[in-house]
């Protein structure tokens, strides 16, 4: 029984989410092979070979895989997947985009966003925005699964010495093409991997006021997130959104500033180790999940907190 893990990458560097996925694969048990499908992605393959616990790295280097278009990548994974008991990918936008297509090509059900491995065929996953946890068992011949990174501690990025094998496969399906992308630039740590996250909501009032949070975040080495209200109001870009429909985070410390705590937001952060809420509304639902709550005006509290650190 071997497990195929699909590497998350941008052709230059291995995505951190891959390490959490390998951790989930280790809990399932079996030989772990990592597939790097991309274009000019030799550096990624080398990084994947060093990951602890990986026994083989398969590299499919083809121009058709440059942007991970599911129409081109899914047939490759489905074909390879036939030789494995499990096919795993991180529950990132790339993994979520590609893997269900793979599952359908293999004619098997997929299990999304597992947070726990009970046994090689039984997994736990949150449903209803994290308000219930389902234990599901799969009898599929090939188990196709996406892994929620925050549910598994990452394996070490160094220490492994896997063999690298090149695959000749790959072609362009010719039904889709990459036009361009607009990536948000940030020097702060990545939201889903940060140890500390400071998030702002509607209570920030406007985008300029987020500067207060950036200053606080820089003191803490934190990433900055936002609620849907703040994104919809145009204060910050959508890739900063934490919640059921945004990113799922589970940092050591989550500081919610001016966020009421709607169900959809809590779905994205309630597994954080320590939650601090700063809100002027004493009745805000966020205080029900906060370990430490401070009732008051964020425009007084945040600068004071920044100075105190």
């Amino acid at each position: 029984m071997a497990i195929l893990v699909i590497a998350e990458h941008n052709n230059a560097a291995l995505g951190a989410a891959t390490l959490n996925t390998v951790a989930a694969a280790q809990q399932i048990g079996g030989d772990i092979h990592v597939l790097v499908a991309g274009s000019a992605c030799a550096a990624v393959a080398e990084a994947a070979a060093k990951v602890a616990g990986v026994s083989k790295v398969l590299v499919a280097d083809n121009a058709a895989f440059a942007h991970q278009l599911p129409e081109n990548v899914a047939p490759l994974i489905a074909e390879l997947g036939k030789g494995y008991s499990h096919v795993l990918a991180a529950a990132t936008t790339t993994g979520k985009n590609v893997l269900p297509r793979v599952a359908a090509l293999l004619d098997v059900d997929q299990i999304s966003e597992i947070v726990k491995v009970e046994s090689p065929d039984t997994f736990k996953r949150p449903i209803y925005a994290g308000n219930a946890i389902a234990t599901v068992q799969s009898s599929a011949a090939i188990k196709v699964i996406t892994v929620r990174g925050t549910g598994f501690d990452p394996v070490a990025a160094e220490g492994g010495a896997a063999a690298i094998e090149a695959l000749a496969a790959g072609s362009d399906a010719g039904i889709s093409s990459f036009v361009g992308e607009e990536l948000a630039k940030s020097e702060r740590p990545e939201l889903t991997a940060a140890k500390v996250v400071v998030s702002g909501g509607r209570g920030m009032q406007n985008g300029e006021n987020f500067a207060l949070l950036y200053k606080l975040a820089d003191k803490l080495g934190a990433a900055v997130g936002a609620s849907r209200a703040a994104v919809d109001a145009g204060f910050v870009p959508n890739d900063m959104q934490v919640g059921q429909t945004g990113k799922i985070v589970a940092p050591q410390l989550y500081i919610a500033v001016g966020i009421s705590g709607a169900i959809q937001h809590l779905a994205g952060m309630k597994d954080s180790k320590v939650i601090v809420a700063i809100n002027k509304d004493e009745e805000a639902p966020i205080f029900q999940v906060a370990d430490y709550g401070l009732v008051g005006d964020l425009f007084d509290i945040v600068p004071e907190l920044e100075k105190a650190l």
Partner: protein, 249 residues
Amino acid sequence: MKILVAVKRVVDYNVKVRVKADGSGVDLANVKMAMNPFCEIAVEEAVRLKEKGIASEVVVVSIGSSAAQEQLRTALALGADRAVLVESNDELGPLAVAKLLKAVVDKEQPQLVILGKQAIDSDNNQTGQMLAALCGFAQGTFASRVEVAGDQLNVTREIDGGLQTVALKLPAIVTTDLRLNEPRYASLPNIMKAKKKPLDVVTPDALGVSTASTVKVLKVEAPAARSAGIKVGSVAELVEKLKNEAKVI
């Protein structure tokens, strides 16, 4: 072009669901149901394409119990022309739903199929991608902008680091993200008119699709509750607690 939109009847997003004591599932008796929010966005986008003169007909389809007719009527009131209900009382997984939708696609031959990116009950985020695979169509998932240009579709997608634009050959599948549009409300006259619009009911058997699943839910439980927190009186106290009690800074 003809557009097919898939909609799902789910528990209303404002409802705080309760897990049944016997662990068999979530208690949905007497709970308010509604159209999945992402499906509302899908209907809105199809109707806007019709208003722009790009779409000639908008067909909505739902798979579920006869109660899902309510959500189909809502979609008709929002501007869809015709509805199809694939009636099944079983709880179907995304693969079964995708296979049923594929049968509807084969019959209706739409140029574009729009679905929500995920249903807020099962949180799977699979059906659109699976349907695309089964049909052999291109997919534009998590769309925040959709533009028809001849026989091609330009879709801007919300990805982890920002936005990505892809060009898809039609026919294609699009799944909607929250920021694609702001769905309209149904007006009373339109709700009345929607009652007269055609709504066909078919069964999975009639479509020749097996809905067997390899996934079994063993139990459903409430997530671990967080222990009650405390309110602190000042910033100094907060910092002290974070440093010495929680030891996170």
